[in-house]
Symmetry: C2
Subunit: 236 residues, 2 copies
DNA sequence: TTGGCAAAAATCGTATGCAATCTTTTTTGG
DNA sequence: CCAAAAAAGATTGCATACGATTTTTGCCAA
């Protein structure tokens, strides 16, 4: 089981079908099974999940609030294709929020949490060792789940939701602009953060997290390329 | 309090109608024309704004994402009634985010922005001078607008949206738990922040903002009272 | 009066239909 | 043969309909 399953199961279990569809689509987007720019028509989503357009539409609306889907009036919904500027804003937001979350988590972490972190790290390591695009996607997801696990420990539901959005969008950004070299490095940084958490040094945890975010962003290629206008025009 | 106190303008010009309704309802909630716990039935909202339940429902869904409305399955939507714990989380989030926003804004602020801030401060001052509940509501709103104006200068659309949500929820919290004494004090702090912005000292701006948030929260009465279970049971 | 139960009313969740808008294909004029 | 106009097709925006669930009402007995 992975983290997001844990986080959302309580919601989607007895709640709306729209929420279940949203979770399903979000996983697909974060996993890159749905490429940026892919059209998500209400009818198609509806038939795929055996619901009416009404329910499919609600799910797409939720994803659009989270920034994972962009909707255009009378045209439909598309998997988001974040610009380099958006990518920068995502990471600027994370730099602001996540060190604070790490500090808060450090002050509330329990031995059981550390065990969960170790398991999470093991899973990450497994995917890094594997080859192939399937493992690559699982690796991105597992890496995001690490940050979500930390956020869930901070004891602040609002910040946790913000982080869910930011992590999901980060996955999109990394899939689009990542230069792929950093995986093992990121993993070792995660390991370091868990170690600092265990030692209870909240200042260190916060600093490590900040550096980690910087490293992730530094691995991106955020130079302006072929012009976003062209990308847009080609509906990518 | 009743929804029908609501005034609505017929301009659904180029935007989505659901969005216009959401904005209208949000203003009403933030202004406290709609009290926490008030039921917002889809049918009633729909007839009030001359739209079908479909559109009204979409608007309510948006507000529920923002945390201003709580929806219960098969029961309906209600204006949120944040608990003291939620109130603490709102302010913890603001303490994390807003000093950073202030720093970013300080580095991008222009002379024209300063003029806009002065105008905003003047408006605040006017409402503080006035008496009566109408002025009190306008005062809360104007105070929130100050923070939103600052957020808009930070140049980060994601953080700006987070702040919009946090400021709106703060208004609810202040309306519920505020002890009311702090208005003039908050105004003077706003003035101080603008002054620091003008001087370009981003460290000072950040520190003033942090203190300001602390003062706002300190003015709240967040002791656990008559038991949130009772409040919930009474649907307040 | 109070408590409990069943019918009625209200409200929500969802599917479906129609008009408006956008996209693609076909037709027409040069 | 190509460009522009027109028609056909697809998709969304919105309203409405109907079953399901909840809440209220009315009634009777304790």
């Amino acid at each position: 089981m992975n983290i997001t399953d844990q986080i959302y199961s309580a919601d989607s279990a007895n709640q709306d079908r729209a929420q279940a569809i949203r979770d399903n689509l979000r996983d697909a987007i974060v996993d890159r099974r749905l490429a940026p720019g892919t059209k998500l028509s209400e009818g198609e989503v509806g038939t795929l999940f055996n619901v009416s357009r009404t329910v499919a539409r609600a799910a797409l609306q939720m994803l659009s609030f989270e920034g994972l889907v962009r909707t255009e009036r009378n045209r439909g919904a598309f998997v988001a294709n974040p610009s380099t500027e958006e990518a920068r804003q995502v990471f600027a937001s994370r730099r602001l929020i996540e060190p604070g979350i790490a500090t808060a988590a450090c002050e509330r972490v329990t031995a059981a949490d550390i065990v969960a972190f170790r398991a999470q790290l093991d899973e990450e390591g497994r995917f890094i060792a594997e080859r192939g695009p399937r493992a690559r996607r699982s690796e991105i997801k597992a890496s995001g789940d690490f940050h979500l696990l930390l956020a869930s420990l901070a004891g602040n539901a609002i910040l946790q939701r913000f982080m869910e959005e930011l992590v999901a969008r980060s996955s999109l950004v990394i899939a689009l602009y990542g230069r792929s070299g950093v995986s093992a490095c990121g993993h070792s940084e995660h390991t370091g953060i868990v170690g600092a958490l265990e030692s209870g040094d909240s200042g260190l945890v916060s600093r490590l997290m900040l550096h980690h975010i910087d490293h992730i962003e530094a691995d991106l290629d955020l130079r302006v390329r072929a012009g976003p206008a062209l990308r847009e025009a080609l509906n990518f």
